[in-house]
Symmetry: C2
Subunit: 293 residues, 2 copies
């Protein structure tokens, strides 16, 4: 396959960055892949893993020959990283990011993008609870959505980025910024916040009870612990940067939870049964759409 | 293997009842298995699936020759079912149940147990989001905990029940009633309540947003929809019957959620990071205990 870009730079060698390097190498082997991470130990680990074409000690040299620069860092670090590399970009370079919040990233990055370069925000809906360069794998993006936010760019630039991500196996879709942040608030950010909360509630239990909660976690709680094991820095930044949409969805959730709490207290069996029947239908829709089995 | 009981009766042919019939048939093939369910269509389906030694149309004949009667019905139906079958039990029969709440079941069943019979409550920590006779499988209880509540019974009776459940591959442990209900409130009941709530919140979103939440559900929400697809009758009864422990844990959860909500609103990054780091450790404990990978 002819590669859409001859030279890409990936900034941040975590789960997403390392997976992107592995997928690109496997599917588009002639692509030159420059990697950079600000942490010495991460660069060293990436080197041992043989990730990318080469690993740079300087962000400037990592990006200076790239046609595409991918910012795969926590959303709270986007502005700082962009400021560091902006002067080293060659004309016509496309910059994308992989952040889970888009309004904040566009606000942070846009003022720093050189006039002759092009920022096309994006977001792969893919991940695991693991982090770091060793957690990456080449098939992470296969059959997973990768959302592109056109952000006023030329169609030809957008198509090229979409072609690259599609070549890696991702299902590319286009989405508006505000809408993205609302959809993600409910599909991803609120579930993570709730999982963190309930696991946190368990952490604070008295010792014996906490130990038994861990021991007998199989009946529902365990799924939450997996979600709540996700990268703390990434998720701290997500909540801070999508605070508006998250707080709106959280408000709705809290109201609904109070409604159920009251139904339990007053033993209103019909209210509980009615809701539990409706929620079952959503699962059916997801299975019908082939998103799970 | 010599079977601990020559004749068992299973009342309720749902996920648990059918799995118990399949596991017993496979591992203790000489055990006579009488099945009963109050629903005509469930009995018919169980018959087509070839479950048990025979399927009874009357609860009285199902239990009349049994040495062990297993009540595998929603906890809200325990009293009614026990009242129906009590007069048909032969002397020295052991009755157990598989309900997720134990204080309520003991309160409901104990007054109805004949003086010459023995009620030993129990609870298998095993299940899926599916229900009905076709959802059962013989390995459901393998390497899963099955809690027994001694409830003042003779040790020899308890040991025999433990021997039977252990033969099916379950890891048998003993637990006190109040403690059971608190542990389950946090490991199972609260996670289910929260999953039902968040999926319910999504159900009420405007149409387009709801459709996209389903479409892009992979990033966290999907795990909740699986939990929230569990049997509505069973779960309605669980919340109504373990209301005290559930409401206590829910109160703690709500406080913790308010704390995080405030941290997001005021952009208190350190508070978020600190909690997300602590919750990660719980996951590590669960993996270390071999409960997940």
């Amino acid at each position: 396959m002819t590669q859409p870009y001859n030279h890409i730079a990936i900034i941040g060698i975590g789960l997403i960055g390392s997976s992107l390097a592995l997928a690109t190498k496997r599917i588009l082997p002639d692509t030159h892949i420059s990697l950079y991470d600000h942490a010495d130990d991460v660069r060293a680990e990436a080197g041992q893993l043989g990730l990318g074409t080469e690993i740079h000690d300087q962000i400037s040299t990592a990006v200076s020959n790239a046609e595409l620069v991918v910012l795969a860092v926590p959303v709270g670090a986007m502005a700082e990283v962009m400021a560091e590399l902006a002067d080293s970009l060659k004309p016509d370079t496309v910059i994308t990011d992989t952040g889970s919040t888009k309004r904040s990233v566009i606000k942070d990055i846009s003022p720093l993008v050189p006039d002759d370069c092009h920022f096309i925000p994006s977001h792969p809906l893919a991940g695991t609870e693991f982090s770091g360069p060793a957690s990456g794998f080449a098939t992470l993006f296969e059959k997973r959505y990768w959302l592109i936010l056109p952000n006023g760019n030329e169609q030809i630039k957008i198509d090229r980025l979409a072609g690259y991500l599609g070549a890696l196996g991702a299902m590319v879709e286009f989405m508006d910024t505000e809408y993205h942040d609302r959809v993600l608030a409910i599909t991803s950010h609120l579930p993570h916040l709730i999982a963190y909360t309930i696991v946190g509630t368990a952490v604070d239990l008295e010792t014996q009870l906490k130990e038994d909660v861990i021991k007998y976690s199989a009946s529902g709680f365990r799924d939450f612990t997996r979600i709540a094991a996700s990268d703390p820095t990434m998720w701290r930044d997500v909540f801070i940067n999508n605070d508006e949409a998250v707080l709106e969805m959280l408000q709705r959730f809290t109201e609904d939870l109070s409604y159920l709490q009251r139904a339990i207290r007053w033993k209103e069996k019909d209210k509980l049964f009615e809701l539990f029947t409706r929620t079952r239908d959503i699962r059916r829709s997801i299975i019908d759409m082939g998103q799970d089995s």
